[in-house]
Amino acid sequence: MDPRRAPRTVSDPKVRKVGFFTDPPDRSLPGPPDHPISSFPTSPPSTIDNSPPSAGNSLSPVMIPPPRHSSSILSPLRRDPAEFFPLPASPTASTSFSDDVASTMKGRGVAAASSSLPGGLFFYIAAIKSAASSVPASGLTTVSVVNNLPIGIFEKGGGVAVEMQDDQSSRSKSLKEKTTKAERRALQEAQRAAKATAKAEDGKTPAAASGGAASVKSGKSVKPPPSQKNDSAALAALEKKAGDRPPEKDRKKEVPQPRMQFDDKSRVEKAKRRAVVKQTEARNRVELFRHLPQYERGTQRTELRSKFFELDPVHPAVYKVGLQYLYGDICGSNARCIAMLQAFQEAIKDYSTPSKKTLARDLTAKIGSYLSFLIECRPLSISMGNAIRFLKNRIAKLPLTLSELEAKATLRSDIDRFINEKIILADKVIVKHAVTKISDGDVLLTYGSPSAVEMVLLHAHELGKQFRVVVVDSRPKLEGQLLLHRLVGKGINCTYTHVNAISYIMHEVTRVFLGASSVLSNGTVYSKVGTACVAMVAHAFRVPVLVCCEAYKFHERVQLDSLCSNELGDPDVISKIHGREDINFLDGSTNSENLQLLNLIYDATPSDYISMIITDYGMVPPTSVPVIVRDYRREHLWI
């Protein structure tokens, strides 16, 4: 139906940070609220004047709130927007500006200046630097600001500033014991920036005086040299030093390990050495998706088959399921999840604890090794991840007093319960809810072959509702045909079309029912590729979009696009068409350097396009997903 919120505005927050320059000036409010830097959300206002500025636990390391009088010194800088957008480095602009600063400084009085100036200048440099680093995209204006302003300042008080800065650093050293890590780090950053600015200024002054345009090069030199890596290294060192902070360590543990990035060469090498199956990576991958794994399917299959007897740690049931994933015999996240859990059930049945080991630990490790095998066959879906989290939790919570037999029996019944309650029963509840939204005369559209939706349609038909179904399908899997076959077999009136015709068919549709691989906590629906397109068209036609998804597939992650986490399928299946030799134009050129094939498996549908999510907790709007994730997460784990 309609977006739940007004369509998102496209104003880039980074650009908005620049906006303070054009704010109407307000001299009567010298305090931090209208200061550019304090517009960073995480910077707490510093309480002591001239104290080393503190920065929060933030992404941007240089969020330094101004000491009070320094900001009043600088307030003229903000007053006149014209001064901030001069023609790059026109001499008049820079001189008028520096005059302004000087006059304000005079106005402040000598006594005040002597104490507050260093802080002010120091702060100001930091401000420039942060502006430079946080607004890299804003281009010329920012650069000109960075170049011009320090010149103005240093022309007047150049030497003093350096001296003051030394003073500042020595004082900060004595303060070191009192300051927190974040503050120290921010200080360090600011000093580095100051040094860089001074250096840039040295080389730059004559050019500016002669009225030359500010070059982008100098802007670069002003920017903080330290790369992200260095920063994080320094941070890590600091953290190590501060060893008496267990809570932070705990917090770190809770943060999930970042996903393996497959464009990181060294890590891929390492992973390859560990891998059970040797896999050749596809060569021509689309630039944006280099971080996702993609293998050449053919080699993978033969490798796996030949390795069967060498891969002794993998239980046959798991092996079988893995191969089924690989060949695409099991697809659909519910089916995959059930198959995996049942394989693990078999594996647990045949498991016996080696001597001198405990069941809880050894079994977890064993399951881990099975998992890495399965992942090599096909990356895990989010629902499988949740199921595994449940299983591992159950293993970890097994009472030590249980004998091995009992423990195995408990685990197997737990798995059974998970399958029954979280998947099968949940589907029944979903069907019960969804059927209420189908009325006589409706035309329902579905995309692909979502299992929950199929149950809904069949149940509605059993209840005798009169409706028509439009099955929309897409290459290469053509899963919709299977659904179509079953629906027609039951005597339901169907229309079959490909996703290309979606905008044509949509005007006669009254409800869109979609399945989902996962629902993320910002309401984004992560589902088979093409779903977003269907949902968007439905939204444009004001047709309500209903997503049927079991609550065990909900995930607390937030994802804004379908790039950063996705799965790549076999590129061959989109370049080749079976049985049509006459149109296989790409046959010869698949290995060409100029051709990159992209077969995405999933995409992310923004919550704006979704009217309702039907789950085992009832029908909820997409904005309520985090509530369910938060309130029932524990229940998922414990059942």
């Binding site: 939204k437 309500p544 309702m612 009832g618 029908m619 709007p621 309520s624």
Partner: protein
Amino acid sequence: MWWRSPSFILDKQQSDTVPHQRNPPDTLPLPLPSQPPFSMADTLQNPSPENNISAYYQTRAAHHAVVTGDWLAQAQAAIGRDPDDSTDTTVATVAGKPFSVIDEFNSWRKQPELAEAVAAIRALAAVIRNCQATTMMELEIELKKASDSLKSGDTTSISLTAGCDLFMRYVTRTSALEYEDFDSAKSRLIERAEKFGEISCKARRIIAMLSQDFIFDGCTILVHGFSRVVFEVLKTAAQSKKLFRVFCTEGRPDRSGLRLSNELAKLDVPVKLLIDSAVAYTMDEVDMVFVGADGVVESGGIINMMGTFQIALVAHSMNKPVYVAAESYKFARLYPLDQKDMVPALCPIDFGVPIPSKVEVETSARDYTPPQYLTLLFTDLGVLTPSVVSDELIQLYL
């Protein structure tokens, strides 16, 4: 000036055999209740389904609509009892005990100041009090039966259904009950029930207090129809010496806006009366829109008297805030996807002139306003954005 036709109240009395029939809106102020379906009826009748006339909207009309006093007196004299009782002729048979929940409910419902849900809660509390049950289970079953019969009495009233459901939750969901003997448990239940009734009564005051921050001096407020909560809000604002003016829509078909303008004029608030179609024309002068709600649904949208949706649309397109004042017992576990996805609640409409039978008349009494057109909801749980409604509902019901 023509008078509101009393037919929709009276026809119900004429029982099920006589097809629903609307009187010609003649200028006679007194249409006879026993008027037979004479020849004119064939041409004047609206093709509205007879038994779908919403009891909820009948009550509303009886309480808020502009009906001249003398007419009401005469009509009542003619029937011999309150128009509201019409429902229990069919439902009272369900509760065939000396104590009838329906009677109790109706006696509460007659008070115009009492919301329907609160009346239901009071009636259910009376059920507990009069209950002969000796075990907890029996009591619960009896309570369930009572609330079901209440709900089936009027399926179109969202707040009645929601109020009953909430009350059941509130009363039975208490762990402390498990370890006590029956009598003390029962008295505790009664205590809870009364407390719940009180909370519901206080809700309107809480909402009025919460919304005061949003009414500023010199603002212009557009209201639609008559809502007791909105009236309370405006009254409180007027009493706290705020300077504002109010635009009242007429609120067809029951013209409840006229009543609100009447009441506001009594409080010396500057009021302007608009016909319903003048909303877009005046919207540029308006600073905020205040509406009540018959029900707040899970998406965060509201179901309210017909015309709310179009006002919200106009306000949204002109970037004016739309505020909803609704007590939390109106939160319902419904999720309409579009306007037709609701239990139909019909009310007869009088057009003042004979309508040929071939002309179809839209008689739906309410519409659904999706959440994206609402700015904030003032409830006794606090000032909420529409998306929080679902969170609250999940907490209340799951």
